[in-house]
Amino acid sequence: MIQVLLAPFELDFMQRAFLAALVVGGLCSTLGTYVVLRKLSFIGDGLAHASFAGIVIAYLRGGSFWIGAAIATIVTALGIGFVHRRANVSLDTAIGVLFTGAFALGIFLMSRSTRATLDLQSFLFGNILGVSPNDLALVVGLGVIVAVVVGALWRPLLYTSFDRVVAQAAGIQERFVDDALLVVLALTIIVSLQLVGIVLVAALLVTPAAAAAQLTKRFIPMMLLSAGFGIFSAVGGLYASYQLQASSGATIVLLATLLFFASLGVKALRTRVVR
């Protein structure tokens, strides 16, 4: 019995997968706090889809998928900020315009290609079991970069998320802060692609933070709780997917969704008790 329970931890590729899940779950859900508070839920979906153009270009030219995805996602992220400011449209609209454009470019290029079609499945739904030692090093490296940026900017990020105009008047460089958040989001999404894939990455950004928001009215507790939910969903979901022989990305997202509804239930119970 115990052997069955511990089996996943004995395989090399599963150990790497668990480590990657830990990092990705923690990163996404920590940044997700800002994503939810800034009402940018759409952005995870947007940047993830934008990465597809880079992946296809990398595939056609024989380059690294990581680098292709990174370039496409960061260019789209900064483009979103630029279009939002220049065209004077809402951030949501800018995201909608740019990510569909980038995704369409990926499909367009692939449809014209005569080479064998890319293994789309693994990009759309993730392939955590295929994490190589190099991939893992990249995930951890990017994870450290994201953690350092958030550690440096958490206060201006919080201030501009809450009260942009006054923060700006007080001398906080709100554009720099916005762009830094977008770039860090882009990096996080890229490292998450292998875990949950393009289609489901947005859930890892949004769902744990939304669950945490049900349980606390303070920022730091919300961030910590969100990180806890994110890590639990990613690691627990990966474990469950192994035992259930189901898709890892889908199992992870389902677990996060379950946590969200559980938090909603706890909140409802609490308010009933208080009343």
Binding site: L37, G151, A152, L153, R155, P156, L158, Y159, S161, F162, D163, V165, V166, A167, Q168, A169, A170, G171, I172, A213, T216, K217, R218, F219, P221, M222
Partner: protein, 245 residues
């Protein structure tokens, strides 16, 4: 060092085709409370936002401490807008919001210094928010909310304080507390620029009063400006042009 905290010269602000300010000139010396009055749509809020560096002049210049507002060191300008357009469900307490006043001066990876904590504690005391400090912001009355945002601006220890109609829609106790606070800050040398609709109490609040209707119609001691009838004049004149663009 220049004795004027703010110098505005020939300031024009246009939004697309609407002219909000059409050649405004004035100086705000240190240790002076200056009131800005004018009818709705006269450009009062635009004037404050331009001095805060939130709007770029279409023409003319704004200088704060001798430089353009955007080039000031972080934490120089404390601004309290007329309507705080914030998300009241945002997960912050009263103290969290007042803490934000220190953020522009807190470097990356730095913890709050003893000085930061003192500045926050003083601001919370000055606005009598001690018993509310751990409340969530959604649990406050309108007057209490206004006090929180003023406290945040004070905690910042700004070199210029901009208040956009801070007394509109607040209770009498809050208004008196704000008056007392502003006069104390001005006595300590802080320059304050504040818009208001309350002409009757202008002499209590301000050392100087600026009457603005897209340009400066009067500038002087509040008693003199009110006696001159400059404001009564524009009130009528507003009815005739107020709806025109």
């Amino acid at each position: 060092m220049n004795e004027n905290a703010v110098e505005v010269r020939n300031l024009h602000v246009r939004y697309d085709r609407v002219i909000a300010l059409d050649g405004v000139d004035f100086d705000l010396p240190r240790g002076t409370a200056m009131g800005v009055v004018g009818p709705n749509g006269s450009g009062k809020s635009t004037l404050l936002k331009t001095v805060a560096g939130l709007i770029k002049p279409s023409d003319g210049t704004v200088r704060v401490q001798g430089v353009a507002p955007q080039k000031l060191p972080p934490g120089t300008i404390g601004y309290v807008p007329q309507i705080e357009d914030v998300d009241w469900t945002f997960p912050v307490s009263v103290r969290d919001v007042v803490n934000m006043g220190r953020y522009p001066r807190t470097g990356p990876f730095r913890r709050f210094s003893a000085h930061d904590r003192r500045a926050v504690a003083r601001a919370i005391d000055a606005l009598d928010l001690g018993t509310l400090a751990d409340r969530h912001i959604s649990e406050l009355s309108g007057g209490q909310q206004q006090r929180v945002f003023v406290a945040r601006a004070i905690a910042q220890e700004p070199l210029l304080l901009l208040l956009d109609e801070p007394t509109t829609g607040v209770d009498a106790a809050t208004e008196d507390a704000l008056l007392h606070l502003v006069r104390g800050l001005v006595a300590d040398g802080l320059p304050v620029l504040m818009t208001t609709h309350d002409l009757d109490r202008a002499p209590e609040w301000f050392d100087r009063l600026l009457v603005v209707d897209r340009r400066v119609l009067a500038d002087g001691r509040p008693e003199n400006v009110l006696e001159s009838g400059a404001y009564a004049g524009i009130r009528e004149h507003t009815h005739t042009h107020g709806h025109k663009r």
